[in-house]
């Protein structure tokens, strides 16, 4: 009834061989099979953004992608980008600004914010508060009211633009 597939992929720089059911979502594979629980599950229908991860450099919803689709792919999760230090400044800004309360949305929010910020680095224009709000509008946060998140992302945008200009 359920078919299994062998897949090989790179997760946070590590080669992984998986044997997964065809119906298994990427986020379930990461959480259940690899115990990478930093990617969260809020809705499993593509609305909340808690499951956000990067596949081949693109931000995707881990609940809308199947694990088998990631055969041969490069997958990065919050644990991976934390360890590489890629978003250390953003994480620091979130902590100082209290841009998280329960923290459940935070891994997805950080990856989504990083997507915007990476487009605007190297002397690029600093996104406006409205730009930031629009960009993170696919990620639910039920705790913060977003204002602090916008503050934190804005602060990093300004700092990064300053550093690179």
């Amino acid at each position: 009834m359920t078919h299994h597939y062998d897949i090989t992929l790179t997760v946070n720089g590590e080669r992984i061989d998986g044997h997964v059911e065809g119906r298994k979502s990427l986020v379930d594979f990461l959480r259940d099979d690899l115990t990478l629980t930093g990617s969260h599950v809020g809705c499993e229908h593509g609305v909340c953004g808690a499951c956000t991860v990067r596949v081949n450099g693109e931000v995707v919803r881990g609940c809308l992608m199947l694990a088998v689709q990631c055969d041969g792919a490069i997958v990065e999760t919050i644990e991976g980008v934390s360890d590489t230090g890629e978003i250390a400044d953003l994480q620091d800004a979130f902590e100082r600004r209290n841009a998280l309360q329960c923290g459940f949305c935070t891994p997805g929010m950080l990856l989504t914010a990083q997507e915007l910020l990476s487009q605007t680095k190297n002397g690029g224009k600093v996104p406006s508060r409205d730009d930031i709000r629009e960009h993170i509008s696919g990620n639910y946060c039920r705790c913060t009211g977003y204002h602090a998140i916008v503050d934190a992302v804005e602060a990093v945008a300004v700092a990064r633009a300053g550093r690179s200009s």
Binding site: M1, E21, R23, K24, R31, T35, L36, T37, G38, S39, H40, V41, G42, C43, E44, H45, V47, C48, A50, T77, I78, E79, S82, Q91, F94, E95, R96, N98, L100, Q101, C102, G103, F104, C105, T106, P107, L110, R129, D130, I132, R133, E134, I136, S137, G138, N139, Y140, C141, R142, C143, T144, G145, Y146, H147, A148, I149, V150
Partner: protein, 798 residues
Amino acid sequence: MKIVSDLPSPLTALDRPNSYIGRAVPRPNLKRLTQGRAQYVSDLVLPRMAHVAYLRSPFAHARIKHIDKSEAEKARGVIAVVTGPELAKVITPWVGVLTHLKGIKSAPQYAMAVDRACWQGEAVCAVVARTRAEAEDACELIQVDYEELTPVTDPETALDASTPVIHPDLGDNLTFERSLDAGEVDKAFAQSDAVVETTFIFGRHTGVTNEPRSIVADWNTGDQRLTVYQGTQAPHMMQNLFAKHLGLEEHQVRVITKDVGGSFGVKVHTYADEMAVVALSKLLKRPIKFVADRLESFVTDIHARDHRVKGKIGINKDGTITAFEIDDLTGIGPYSVYPRTSGIEANQVVNLVGGPYACPNYRARARVVFQNKNVMCQYRAVGHPIATAVTEGLVDLAAAKIGMDPIEVRKKNLYADDAYPVTAASGIKFEKLSHHAATDKLLRMMDYKALRANQAAARANGIHRGIGFASFIEVTNPSAAFYGVGGARISAQDGATVKLDATGAIFCHTGVSEQGQGAEAVIAQCVASSFGVSLDKVRVIMGDTDNTPYGGGTWASRAAGIGGEAAWQAGKALRENVLAAAASILQAKPDDLDINNGVVVDKGTAKERITLSEVARICYFRPDTLPPGFQAELVATRHYVPRNWPFSFTNGIQASYLEVDVDTGFIKLLKHWCVEDCGTVINPQLVDEQIRGGIVQGLGGALFENCLYDERGQMLNGNMADYLVPMAMEMPDMEIGHVVSPTADSELGAKGAGEAGTAGAPACVMNAINDALRPLGATPMTEMPFTPGRVLRALGRV
């Protein structure tokens, strides 16, 4: 501030080293959340753990004639298929009533439906399997023979003789009723220059915590203990309930709460499907995990609000409010939720309507009725948004009727800041509120005059903007008067145990818990300040009934005011103990010593005498060198409960500036302001963010959130795509200000701040919309959420 006086130092509490009260220090241990290394219950895996999925009733009301589970039992991965009657042998039912809510009644509720399902989504059969997916697969193989019964859905007709009674033993569908008549209401209305009457309607909405409800129960038959990992706000309360209904002693149950992905009151209740999990673990003798999926969350997480309130206000031409009258009707689902009851919200509405205003004439009735819909219970700011919207909506309509500025009407009627203590018409007692100071501050922050000018200029260009206000009162720091007096075993007191470890650092074990509010930081700030160490030397332990003092947990904005005070007192007590030990080592008098930055110093001169790590080393490892008869006590515990006032009432005022697109009905929020008085502000950043988060939850209720049901009791929008919550793009920037009136009930003087935002936001959005639309002759909007369709209807355009 009062916290100055008890400290031995000539410096004030805020000047001392290690004074963290009032400082926006970052929360400790946030890195685990930002790095994806938190431990939510949904992340947890235990050896031999199995997963449960529930087959849920597709009908709002149906008799369960027969369940055929034979096919499901044979399915791959299935460990057990358990029906309601089978589970009822393991766990007893409960009734959600409290004795101090006179006349409240409810029916026994079982962990799973026994012979009848009373709402769409009630669990009727459980499948335990190796994986959740296998459990869900097997659910599809269960055959249930239902006989559909007539559902009761409309609160307006729930009490009619022709409506079936959901629980025949109770006689009717009335859960709870309360009436109040103060002053001379009829006379006041008769003598008023104007009377305004209208009906306010509040949609049903729900919490939508980002992490759904999650629980792992582990009955270990070897040591006869149940360990429950649960994302709950009240671990000790749940310990008591699990023990009680499984027939265990409390010491056989341990509840552990680590990271919780949002709560807002949703996770402070007893859920039948979670009670079923602990029972299944006991039955099957292995760990069982249940994580609600989002679709289940919508039909089983408590819903809230859903009130229809007829309101009436009297006013004189000079702006004096003469009387308030309300009639509130609310439907709560088929059961009053255990153990807090579903009567509290309506009760709170009766308590709070008219609250900020010195008007002695007030009549109220509230009726709470059963329905065949999901249960309703306490959600963030219980009853406050209803009471505030009714009160403030009426005040604005009255102001418009006599042609007075809404702020002038408020200033004329708000209790004077020097009037306290005050007993309001509803009978509740206010220790100290600051409505006028808060209003003045708000008007300065928003530059009211300039904003009115901006509004007028925009209007001249065909842009319709509105300004709305809402004064509010918030109930925080509940004493035993909230639940204890009604017979619920929900601790009103809280405790803190602090200990000096062998290296000079402090451990603080507290009964309050963390769901993101920052309670951990606040407790650390209190202990570090009162004991005298830097913040990084304090480790806070919470959320474990085996390892924390018995306490209430975190709800009703009690963690800082109650848990913080206990921690403050415990820190002081430990300081005395440590100074006694240091004095004995140094052959000095304890009174001549103090602790600064982790070092015992001479009081006054701050000359260093001995480090804490050295005191600890001697006391733990070389007590033989201490004088005979001296026993060092490097642990201290203190408890705290408010005694002089049943609640710390806080107050504040919010303002909203928004724009209505009269062609599409869309509302754009431009800016939001809030001034709040939560007494001593322990951590300004955390308080501001609580208020901001609360405002957005209030804005959600005002503009988007609504659990839609059809007449058969089917929820129509039980998913995140159809149930709208605020997203970043629709939300405004929010400016927060403070007025500080500490409560005299505690040394710290801290009141709560978690409900404030939610309490006032819907009312001030409503008033702002009506302010924007009034010149266009629109019908005043009083039905939430204020959807584009409703806006266009109010304008007569559709």
